[in-house]
Amino acid sequence: MPNSFIFNYILTIADNSLILAQRLGELCGHGPSLETDIALTNISLDLLGQTRSYYQYAAKISGENKTEDDIAFLRIEREYNNCLLVEQPNTHFGYTLGRQFLFDVYHLLLMEKLQHSPDETLAAIAKKGIKEVSYHKRFSSDWVKRLGDGTEESKAKMQEAIDDLWRFTDELFYMTEAEKQAVKEGIGIDVSTFKEKYYEEVSEVLKEATLTVPENKYFTKGGKEGIHTEQMGYLLADLQYMQRTYPNMQW
């Protein structure tokens, strides 16, 4: 894969959406109710649409003979730059929604900044994405509140999910070399500028959900630099199956 900073910068944003879309897509037909099943796959579809726009752009600037399909499906694990949060499995509905919520808050804040990037394509994708992501955030915040402030069991499960996923939140604000370079060149977003706002917004919803904001300060990272959790291999095996079995399939 090409090694230009902008190419890698696009991947740090786009891979999050691809991997999360894959996780949500796994639930198609398995959601807890028809309405939530449809909602989660709709969110997956939005994310996939955004991903395609990013990869088409990345393919164009790659300078090699790459297509969006190559970028999405033919990289090895170490070449995916998604954060660890989005690759975590769908263990239970509360966990899926907790993961979604912790990502959506970040995603919307990022899109709001990215829409002003002087890079026209990134700005256009973000501007379009904001409209979709704000619905995602509304949906996941709503569920976190409903489950947190719900029955004894739903509250316990939601709290457990947030406590477990908390260790992946700090990585969202860790900057890779490509990100630092993109900031320096003026097209990228310095994610550290909205870290405080992120935790504020997250805490606000958790409090409204009558959940405890975790105090855990032990964070883990690595995904954005290609060092993933054990979950990633299984996910990629599924994601890449079709393209590897029937090479040159098109999206």
Binding site: I38, D46, L48
Partner: protein, 167 residues
């Protein structure tokens, strides 16, 4: 191009564009939906700029193919380009389109601030397209497609789609 700016569509191409509809809402033509941002004929080739309602909307590929087919039937070649900016808004749906939509059973998008209220279940504003009652409630923020939410009428008991406001 700003949101209010009219799309650049050549007069003589309109009859053909009118025959192409959204596969998910077949009563709406692509013109009603406002997804055509440009359609001009240059050197015998019809160049069309299409904007998706949602990034991942699967209808867009189908619409692109349908447009090419519709023009090939009158002996013209069409090229379709997908553009993202400016982002599509529900304001671009024509009044005629909104009326057709309601007749078809989909409640029309309200204004942005109203939309927030109804989707958070705070106010009852969405009118049932079957019986006209506003005694309705939100079942799910995501309906049969990304652009719709699912509602149910508490008077006539019928479920129906609401076209989410996108601005």
């Amino acid at each position: 191009m700003t949101l209010t700016e009219k799309p650049n569509i050549q007069e003589n191409l309109i009859p053909v564009l009118k025959t192409v509809s959204d596969p998910e809402i077949p009563v709406l033509s692509v013109l009603d939906l406002g997804v055509i941002r440009e359609a001009v004929e240059e050197n015998g080739i019809v160049k069309i700029k299409l904007t998706p309602t949602y990034s991942g909307c699967p209808a867009m590929d189908v619409i692109g193919d349908d447009l090419k087919k519709a023009f090939s039937e009158i002996g013209k070649k069409a090229e379709v380009e997908l553009i993202l900016s400016p982002a599509w808004s529900t304001d671009w749906i024509s009044e005629e389109g909104l009326q057709k939509m309601e007749k078809y059973g989909i409640a029309r998008p309200l204004s942005e601030s109203h939309d927030k209220d109804v989707l958070l279940g705070e106010k009852k504003l969405v009118k049932c397209p079957q019986c006209g009652s506003t005694n309705t409630h939100l079942v799910s923020q995501f309906g049969s497609t990304a652009c719709k939410a699912l509602f149910k009428c508490d008077d006539c008991q019928e479920p129906f789609d609401y076209f989410k406001c996108l601005k």
